[in-house]
């Protein structure tokens, strides 16, 4: 176990938490252990994570550029370029800079979530949603006058614990505040899809943090879901709301989970939650856990790489 070099740990225990680490601890303490304590991840990253990550980053940057005064076309050009670069595996210099005229396009191991369809999805999203008229949804402005985009936060959960994260964008919709989030899926987007976000740790965490940062009630989270098909992308906008009581309940559950995970860390005990191994296409540590404990270290060396997840890392 090595937590000495991790900023989010103090005296061997995690004190700075975010939605990701909380979700890990709620899902499976062994998964939490491998990710947060051991700091490992599979060498081969899921295509869904690659696609979703570049897509979300592109849209977040779009609204940042818009807030800085760029036109829709200027901002779109910048984020298409960004997505193309992020989906290209350049060789790197010693300082980590991309070396021009090296490498190749990232291989997307999927028929729907491909590099071309990633760019298509970004352009189509902007075509559909970017032009916000005055009577619909608009970016909320803070009391300072700054637009509420890219809001990183570190909030006190209790005397010794922090909750950290990042809100891409806060919007005013019908006179109420909502946090915006993006999701992509290869499946159809309907009621069944949106049902999974209530209850949901990430969405409750957004709403809880949003109201704490803004000092105003946050009604919930607006989720722009993109269905990625081979020849088209279809968008659906869904809303998941949270009441004050629901957020208080989430807070209590979160504290309970965190204290349990800290206790497990103190005892160095990491029980597996065997009913969660198949969630979302299978846990990234499923192959590892399925092996005999005596051979797991060798398997980690061959199939996993070091990856420190730092809740305190600002974007």
């Amino acid at each position: 176990m090595s937590t000495t070099n991790k900023r989010s740990f103090k005296d061997g225990l995690q004190f700075a938490w975010d939605g990701t680490s909380l979700e890990l601890a709620q899902t499976c303490l062994r998964k939490y252990y491998y990710t947060m304590i051991r700091g490992i991840k599979p060498r081969r990253q899921s295509v869904h994570l690659i696609f979703g990550g570049i897509y979300a980053n592109a849209l977040e940057n779009f609204y940042k550029h818009r807030a800085e005064g760029d036109s829709i076309d200027e901002a779109l050009r910048k984020i298409v370029r960004l997505a193309l670069v992020e989906s290209w595996e350049h060789e790197r210099s010693e300082s980590g800079e991309r070396i021009p005229d090296t490498g190749q396009a990232t291989y997307f191991d999927d028929t729907k979530k491909t590099r071309v369809n990633l760019i298509r999805t970004i352009v189509w999203y902007i075509e559909q949603f970017a032009d916000e008229s005055e009577d619909s949804m608009k970016t909320y402005h803070l009391q300072s006058g700054k637009p509420a985009v890219e809001l990183s936060f570190t909030l006190e959960l209790d005397d010794e614990l922090m909750y950290c994260g990042h809100l891409d964008r806060v919007v005013d919709f019908g006179g109420q505040l909502y946090i915006m989030d993006q999701k992509t899926t290869g499946g159809t987007v309907g009621t069944y899809f949106f049902d999974q976000f209530s209850p949901n740790n990430q969405m409750s965490g957004y709403a809880w943090a949003g109201q704490a940062i803004l000092g105003s009630p946050v009604r919930g989270v607006i989720i722009d879901a993109a269905q990625i098909a081979v020849n088209f992308t279809r968008f659906e906008r869904g809303i998941t709301t949270r009441s004050k009581d629901q957020l208080e309940e989430w807070y209590d559950s979160a504290l309970w989970t965190i204290k349990l995970a800290r206790q497990a860390t103190s005892l160095d005990q990491w029980p597996m939650n065997l009913s969660a191994c198949g969630n979302y296409g299978g846990c990234p540590f499923r192959q590892l856990c399925s092996r005999s404990p005596s051979v797991r270290e060798n398997y980690i060396k061959s199939d996993y790489s070091e990856h420190v997840w730092d809740p305190l890392k600002a974007r």
């Binding site: 021009p100 298509r120 999701k183």
Partner: protein, 64 residues
């Protein structure tokens, strides 16, 4: 005008603004084509098994 497929195969650091705009226009044209296509009545989907229903959730991107 360069073929868009060729632009996708080029190092993106070497792409000009005109190249990027060409890619965007191509994607916009595809959207207009998709939207102007006559709507087809969707076929009734067969009832999903429990296994298929859970598989729909599989590829939602996670924030890990």
């Amino acid at each position: 005008m360069t073929d868009v497929t060729e632009l996708f195969n080029r190092d993106p650091l070497s792409l000009t603004n005109e190249n990027i705009d060409q890619i965007i226009e191509e994607m916009r044209a595809k959207r207009h084509l998709f939207q102007s296509a006559p709507a087809t009545k969707p076929k009734a989907a067969p009832a999903k098994t429990k296994k298929q229903a859970s598989a729909l959730k599989l590829d939602i991107d996670l924030d890990l």
